[in-house]
Symmetry: C2
Subunit: 199 residues, 2 copies
């Protein structure tokens, strides 16, 4: 018996990841009940801007409103290294640790035959083209530690093995701050396999 436009708003919120009926209702209700008119206007404007003006950077696949993205534009970055991630938000995660200053390449997902996603569905061809064009020295594979992420990393590694290029994979092991007790078997296995001499 909610008004129709409120029900429509609930349906829209339901489309967001991890949002169920109760949360969607709570959000819609907050919009109607607590949000200022100008905040709703801003919300509408930002949705509409995102819809119309955000596209993928033709070089690396990151999100941008311009011809190429901020990272590809930035001449202070080290052009000889490309870090490969699955999604644009992975780029932000890497940036947050302020340790990496090279280039990025966003695949837009990972190889997953079950979901019908092969290498052709991903932004991989442009990566290989980039490597040829840009005189890349190292490719850092930072796809997830899942079956799909591993398959994707393996695919790229195999493709590049005859080229004169370093292909590395980021380290997997115990997350900082966690204890063995609460870690799953796969993580502990990776931590053991990846052990280094302790100096």
């Amino acid at each position: 018996m909610y008004p129709k436009s409120l029900n429509n708003l609930i349906s829209s919120f339901l489309k967001l990841p991890g949002v169920g009926k109760k949360t969607a209702e709570r959000y819609a209700y907050a919009v109607v009940n607590k949000m200022k008119k100008e905040d709703i206007e801003k919300f509408i404007e930002s949705l509409s801007n995102c819809k119309d003006s955000i596209k993928r950077c033709p070089v690396c696949g990151f999100l941008t409103e311009d011809d190429i993205c901020e990272y590809c534009k930035d001449n202070t970055r080290d052009k000889s290294t490309i870090l490969v991630v699955e999604e644009a938000k992975d780029v932000e995660a890497i940036e947050r640790c302020e340790r990496y200053f090279g280039m990025y390449h966003v695949l837009g997902g990972s190889i997953s035959p079950i979901n019908g996603i092969g290498p052709e569905e991903l932004n991989i061809k442009s990566l290989f083209k980039r490597i040829d064009d840009e005189n890349t020295k190292e490719i850092i594979l930072a796809t997830s530690a899942t079956v799909e992420g591993e398959a994707t990393a393996l695919y790229i590694k195999r493709f590049l093995q005859d080229k004169n290029i370093i292909v590395s994979r980021i380290a997997y092991g115990m997350p900082v701050g966690s204890s063995l007790e609460f870690s799953d078997e796969s993580t502990i296995m990776r931590a053991l396999d990846g052990r280094k001499e302790y100096r």
Copy 2:
């Protein structure tokens, strides 16, 4: 380094209740990356409709797009009983159990001196007017079992004590399906105080 319109969208999602930076990013990213254009358009439309056309029912305070809300319009409902709740979504919770067929009154909050909310800030005056006008026989107080909810219930009860009207409060006790072991002291206390002879 996200495009500006994506950052604006993240800020808008941050205004929703219980949404922090990571969740807002995830939502905004899903809008840009996974949502179809027509779904974003629907989202924009429903936000804009909610902003412009939803208002409070002048009789009961529930949300409506018309002159009065669906519940007040409905002639099959029992006009002699009014169930008083804090928020419009409480009405939906009561409706979901399909046990109550009377009228509603939405206060729009609860008395909370710390937050500067007194009886005047709530939709209470119109409740008292309704009782006089509508020949109400029973008022069911269904405000929350919090300090504020109790204060609000008490305030309304006191105001009505000289009138020829039944004022009841919904029962508090053990939630169905839970066990004593996992219940908090206040709930157990209420369950003990509210005990009934077992026939």
